[in-house]
């Protein structure tokens, strides 16, 4: 069903990124303050505390030699510390609730009331469906303050609502958050996923996945964990969404999914990319969808038009050079392979001499021409003409060469040559050529990203 691409030697582009870390959120609140650790040191046991304990804490902190802003703000910061944890445990929840009870007893401005209520909503929402009464009470109190809320409170309201039956009201608050910020992250969608999965509602999950795709939002670890907790059926649906919407998961997410399958009793084998059958049950595997002919034609037309007519030509080359290249292409015809000469020669480690780099290039081109019987184009810069003669003469005999000024870039020319030569040409680089995505558009519109990515999967990368 799903091809895990690993292999040795010539391997296509890996399907998942090697980005193993989680994205760090910047905490510019009082939680990031240097004195916050002293507050945490007062609380040693994670148990429910009485109001007297918090009163003593307040007295201790007010006696310290700290700026006054922090003294007014430390309770809010502590509450948010408990509310923003990813895996909320029972002890932390009870600590948070005790803090909230203490803060309710104090007299508080409207300013602080909003933050207290939103943090408490988040706490109860993360806890689960056992706190529905408290959540209803908090919501009525919040609506007494205002009708329209900002981004932070909208997020906490969505989390709170996801624990109750009326989680669909969360869509309203999603639209409200878009009034003041043009992009929203996956933290707004993950509680909705959680609620939809709790009720086993397939239509809503489909709707949410489509919304993620439309608004260009990435799939976070939390969402993957919610799917894993449900079981095997929803895991397979997750993988289907990856396939349909062409999402590329991170390495950590793939490890989690792998462990989940192993727990269910499956054994996972690494599949070689060229085989199309499963090694266990010898069933045919679905291949990744390649670029169709119509999409390719659209890519080609939009690129050829835009690359030539832009004002930004002078940032990389000149008009005369481009026209020289276009006449060269019209005279020489179509190619099977296009080699980015400098990229291949400089892909090797740094302590190699120039002679060895030229030898590398020569060996690559000998392999492509003699063994694979392909028609090759080599692109480079004019200083390559001064490389050792015995290697360069052989390269120029076997393959056609085009050399560009020493100060201009050859990325556009590789793409131009590849797209004009036809559907089956391949480019040999280590460069992912992502800089030139902006040149597409027009006819393709929103599909430009996907088309370019799918086209990029057919590039070859050499690994040393």
């Amino acid at each position: 069903m799903f091809k895990l691409l690993t292999g040795r030697g010539l391997r296509p582009i890996l399907l998942f990124n090697n980005f193993k870390g989680s994205i760090r959120t910047i905490k510019s609140d009082a939680r990031n303050d240097e004195h916050f650790q002293t507050v945490l040191s007062f609380i040693k046991d994670n148990q429910y505390k009485d109001i007297d304990f918090w009163v003593e804490c307040d007295r201790k902190i007010n006696s310290l030699n700290i700026n006054e802003r922090f003294k007014q703000v430390w309770t809010n910061a502590l509450l948010r510390h408990y509310a923003h944890q990813s895996d909320l445990k029972k002890d932390d929840f009870e600590l948070g609730i005790s803090l909230y009870d203490y803060m309710k007893s104090k007299k508080v401005d409207d300013r602080n009331r909003l933050t207290i209520l939103s943090a408490a909503l988040r706490l109860c929402g993360e806890r689960g469906s056992s706190e529905t009464d408290r959540i209803d009470q908090l919501l009525t109190e919040i609506h007494q303050i205002a009708d329209f809320f900002d981004v932070d409170t909208c997020q906490s309201i969505i989390i709170g609502l996801s624990a109750t039956d009326r989680w669909r009201d969360g869509y309203r608050y999603l639209d409200m958050a878009k009034l003041t910020s043009h992009t929203l992250g996956p933290e707004f969608y993950s509680p909705l996923f959680r609620a939809a999965l709790r009720f086993d509602d397939k239509k809503e999950v489909d709707k949410l996945a489509k919304a993620l795709h439309e608004h260009d939002v990435y799939v976070s670890e939390k969402i993957v964990n919610y799917f894993i907790q449900k079981g095997k059926k929803w895991l397979l649906d997750l993988l289907f969404y990856y396939y349909e919407y062409r999402w590329i998961p991170g390495a950590r997410q793939m490890e989690l999914i792998k462990e989940a399958f192993v727990r269910e009793g499956y054994c996972i084998n690494n599949i070689e990319p060229r085989k199309s059958t499963c090694p266990c049950c010898s069933q045919k595997l679905l291949p990744l969808p390649k670029l169709g002919l119509t999409d390719f034609e659209r890519l080609r037309r939009s690129f050829l038009k835009l690359a030539v007519e832009r004002d930004d030509i002078f940032l990389s080359t000149t008009i005369e050079e481009l026209q020289r290249f276009i006449t060269f292409m019209n005279e020489s015809g179509r190619f099977d392979m296009i080699v980015d000469g400098l990229n291949v020669a400089y892909a090797a480690p740094k302590h190699i001499t120039l002679k060895q780099r030229a030898e590398l290039l020569r060996s690559v081109i000998n392999y492509l021409v003699d063994v694979r019987r392909k028609r090759v184009l080599v692109l480079g810069r004019k200083h390559m003409l001064s490389w050792p003669g015995k290697f360069m003469d052989e390269i120029q005999d076997k393959a056609k060469c085009f050399f560009v000024d020493n100060k201009s870039e050859d990325d556009k020319m590789t793409l131009y040559a590849a797209l004009s030569s036809g559907r089956q040409t391949q480019i040999v680089t280590l460069d992912e050529l992502r800089d030139h995505k902006y040149l597409l558009g027009g006819e393709l519109g929103l599909k430009a990203n996907n088309c370019f990515l799918r086209y990029g999967r057919e590039l070859i990368k050499y690994h040393f």
């Binding site: 703000v73 909003l114 933050t115 409170t153 930004d312 940032l315 100060k407």
Partner: protein, 356 residues
């Protein structure tokens, strides 16, 4: 000691012989309209960033219903930030709300609040520092400015000498052209940074015996450059610069022009006294895109870069220098007969060639 220093400095400026090595043919085509800055265009009264109290009131009363909703939400957001410890100023005026309304995202708003918080704290801390200093005993004056043998030179007399040199350069001397056509690609902060760099370069230039004549071309009359240049101390009409909307190619031939850029085609070996140099008016903090090189290729002007690798061991930092550094290097080379090492050691910052 200060008076001694000033004396010797002024004595150097009094010209004994003045020789300008520019080709007079390049200066023949200079028209009188371009030489001096005319006061037909009214000078701006407010910097482009700031909003007056009256304008702010007008804006806040004439909001669309969408913007009114947004304002209410932003006020709530400000309260939330204040109560959670985010760095936010204590008081917000109506002008500040107008600037915050224009910001598109949460992160840009946070950065603006952080900036205002810092300025508030700066003002508070300066007050405290002044109060502390007032309590301490004042030191006695070490130098008596009156009743002295030494000739006390005031700043006005120094400026008179400097501006005399500049006016002479305006009529007979070599011009330095600034190409200001890149205004669309710079942010507000970069425009202000450019003007502060101009301040430094102006001071370096005027103190020299043979200064350049600064001339700015492709300036938009309602643009941000023109607005900001009025606010760096004095009115523009008092400074002998040329500021015009025209293109420099209408006046000077392409054969005589040389464009300085960090990505130039050739490295410079010596200062060419027959040529006129162009500097691109860019401060690129965000991206390093070869804009000046692209323009030189488009207009088919010779482009040139400094020989930094030949005379310096570069360790870190970008090789695009600021405008005051470039102007200083050009002036030194003109005088010292192409002594690049002395010019670089004086103007290129030491952190770029620092070795542990």
């Amino acid at each position: 000691m200060q008076a001694l220093r000033r004396c010797s400095h002024v004595l150097k400026l009094i010209p004994t012989t003045r020789t300008y090595l520019t080709n007079p043919k390049t200066l023949e085509k200079r028209k009188p309209d371009d030489l001096c800055y005319k006061t037909t265009i009214p000078s701006p009264k407010i910097p482009f960033d700031k909003i007056t109290v009256e304008d702010a009131k007008k804006i806040l009363t004439n909001l669309t219903p969408e913007e009114e909703k947004q304002l209410k939400i932003l006020k709530l957001e400000y309260d939330v930030f204040f109560s959670t410890g985010v760095r936010v100023p204590n008081e917000m005026t109506s002008e500040m709300w107008c600037t915050i309304l224009k910001k598109p995202s949460v992160a840009s708003r946070r950065r603006m609040y952080n900036f205002w918080f810092k300025t508030e704290k700066k003002i508070e801390n300066e007050k405290k520092r002044k109060q502390k200093k007032a309590l301490q005993p004042k030191p006695e004056k070490s130098f008596n400015f009156y009743n002295n043998i030494y000739f006390f030179v005031r700043e006005t007399t120094m400026n008179q000498h400097y501006y005399n040199n500049l006016c002479h350069a305006m009529r007979f001397g070599p011009p330095l052209l600034f190409d200001m056509s890149f205004e669309n690609k710079m942010t507000d902060r970069e425009v202000k940074n450019f003007v502060t760099q101009l301040q430094y370069s102006h001071s370096i230039n005027k103190m020299n015996q043979e200064p350049f004549h600064f001339s700015f071309y492709n300036v938009l009359s309602e643009g941000r450059f023109f607005n900001q240049m009025h606010f760096f101390g004095k009115d523009l009409s008092n400074i002998p610069w040329t500021v015009s909307n025209n293109d420099f190619q209408d006046i000077y031939d392409k054969e005589n022009l040389i464009y300085l850029s960090p990505n130039g085609a050739r490295t410079m070996k010596e200062y060419d006294h027959n040529a006129i140099y162009i500097i691109g008016g860019i401060v690129d903090r965000s991206e390093e895109v070869p804009l000046t090189f692209a323009k030189a290729k488009k207009e088919k002007i010779r482009s040139v870069r400094f020989p930094l690798e030949r005379y310096l061991d570069w360790t870190r930092g970008s090789k695009s220098l600021t405008i005051d550094q470039v102007v200083g290097i050009l002036l030194r080379i003109k005088q010292n007969n192409n002594n690049w090492e002395a010019a670089f050691s004086e103007f290129v910052p030491k952190r770029k060639t620092y070795k542990d």
